[in-house]
């Protein structure tokens, strides 16, 4: 290994708080002690990563309170050092850490709360695409309905919560005390998307709408989608509900493309 490579490895190991010979490479420049010089870098490294967590996870921070938040930040920086060039992705493993490390693992609300915050961020800067409106549906000849497929705006995602994470997030967001954590018997589903005005939105939706949406996301057509709903709805009411869901998506600006085959 070249001297330059070794120096760089030692510098980064030092930033991470690992044992390293790095201090021996530093020139003595009084009156500022080498320790102080080194600490400027060490502190800057941790501060920058901490600010990234602050920015990405304000509600998680509020929920945890200072003491637990400090533990999270310290553990996260040590366990998941940044492997990415953009800080945009640095916090991606926060939900994982919260689900696997003490003391956080004792509080099953934490990981979904963090995952919801990340899902909102993902929608915020997802790729752009144009969307179509309800009029594009009106002009569709009736005999083409069974074969239509849909493409959704890249910001559209489904957040599945096993516990009241979104309600907790909403309370924290409006500076109210969060409700007690309450696991759901069956998961709740949230639809997240970015509006044409570039605002991130979400709403709760029920299993049939979620199933139909996922069916379209996977490339399925309208007729097969209706079949998939038979498990959830009386057969004679299916087409009416399916059309309603579709209209709602178009009105919300979720659909980029409707293809009649």
């Amino acid at each position: 290994m070249s001297d330059l490579a070794r120096l760089q490895q030692q510098f980064v190991a030092f930033l991470q708080g690992q044992q390293s010979d790095f201090p021996q490479l530093i020139g003595d420049q009084p009156p500022v002690a080498t320790d102080i010089r080194l600490n400027i870098y060490h502190n800057a490294y941790r501060m920058r990563l901490r600010e990234t967590i602050d920015n990405d996870h304000p509600m998680l921070g509020k929920y945890l309170g200072d003491e637990f938040y400090d533990i999270l930040v310290a553990n996260y920086i040590d366990t998941y050092p940044s492997k990415v060039k953009s800080l945009r992705y640095f916090c991606d493993a926060i939900p994982t850490l919260l689900a696997e490390q003490q003391p956080f693992i004792e509080h099953p609300i934490l990981s979904p709360l963090a995952a919801f915050e990340r899902a909102l961020l993902t929608a915020f800067d997802a790729t752009d695409a144009s969307t179509i409106g309800i009029n594009d549906l009106a002009s569709l000849p009736g005999d083409q309905w069974p074969n239509i497929t849909l493409s959704f705006h890249p910001s559209v995602s489904v957040f599945e919560e096993p516990i009241n994470a979104v309600a907790t997030w909403q309370h924290l967001k409006s500076d109210k005390n969060p409700p007690a954590p309450l696991a759901h018997e069956l998961p709740l589903y949230w639809l997240i998307w970015r509006t044409p005005e570039r605002l991130t939105e979400f709403r709760n939706f029920m299993a049939p709408e979620m199933v139909l949406l996922k069916h379209f996301v996977n490339g399925g057509n309208f007729a097969d989608g209706c079949d998939a709903l038979a498990e959830y709805l009386p057969v004679d009411e299916i087409p009416q509900f399916a059309v309603q869901y579709l209209q709602q998506w178009l009105t919300n600006g979720l659909v980029s493309k409707l293809t009649a085959h």
Binding site: Q29, V32, R37, K83, R198
Partner: protein, 286 residues
Amino acid sequence: MINDHFLGFGLGLRIPHFEDVLNTEHNVDWFEILTENYMVGGGKPRYYLEQVAERFPIVMHGVSMSVGSTTPLDTQYLNHLKQLINDVKPRWISDHLCFTQANGVNSHDLLPLPYTEDAINHVAQRIMQAQDHIGQQMLIENVSSYLTYKESGMTEWEFYNEVCQRADCLMLLDINNIYVSARNHQFDANDYINAIDGKRVRQIHLAGHTDYGDYVIDTHDHDVCDPVWDLYRAAVKKFGAVSTMIERDDDIPPFTNLVDELNIAKRIAHEELPDLSQWNKEQVHV
């Protein structure tokens, strides 16, 4: 003589200022964006950038190419960069004379290199590779530093000049970084400016820092201080008209405050360069 690359006086484009940049009258000539912040698919940042780019020249400033690293250049990053260059069509792009990662870990900091012949060879080679990959010349910026290495055998400015000459790249001279490093390493900032190869200087950064007495930290959260304005004057005397901007990244004041601060730079440049009154920014937009 004002050269063709002179864009006038600019600011770093910051999120809280998006609306002011687009919807208020101001005399800012151009904007610099932080490359990595726009390496996302879409949404608000890209939307505003598109609008700003329609009306003002844009330059791109990266923080993570890590031209000094000893691991292979990240071609995925360079491909993203190329894509963004294609979308944004900046006047030029820049990154820093430093390394940012090792052991697969990104420090998200601009870490100083040792000033050695080995490092010059290595970094110049990498800058050339990067320039080849993106198909254009880059600007390389001097960073602030808080330590020096025992093995360094030359001054920072000798190192900087030599790297840029061998790589045939351009310079983004950060006057505040020169000041910060001069204070931290007790050299004369004027020696630095006097030694710089003027024909390579394409852009100037100005910024504020935090002064701890014995040392200074480059925080970009204060106004530009008087000694840095004095150095800027010296730089203008030496280099002539160079596209100049203020970087502000923290404690971001209202847009109009930064415009006022930028007008100080403008005034200094006009005092030192009578030719500048002939310059008209419409020339740039053509």
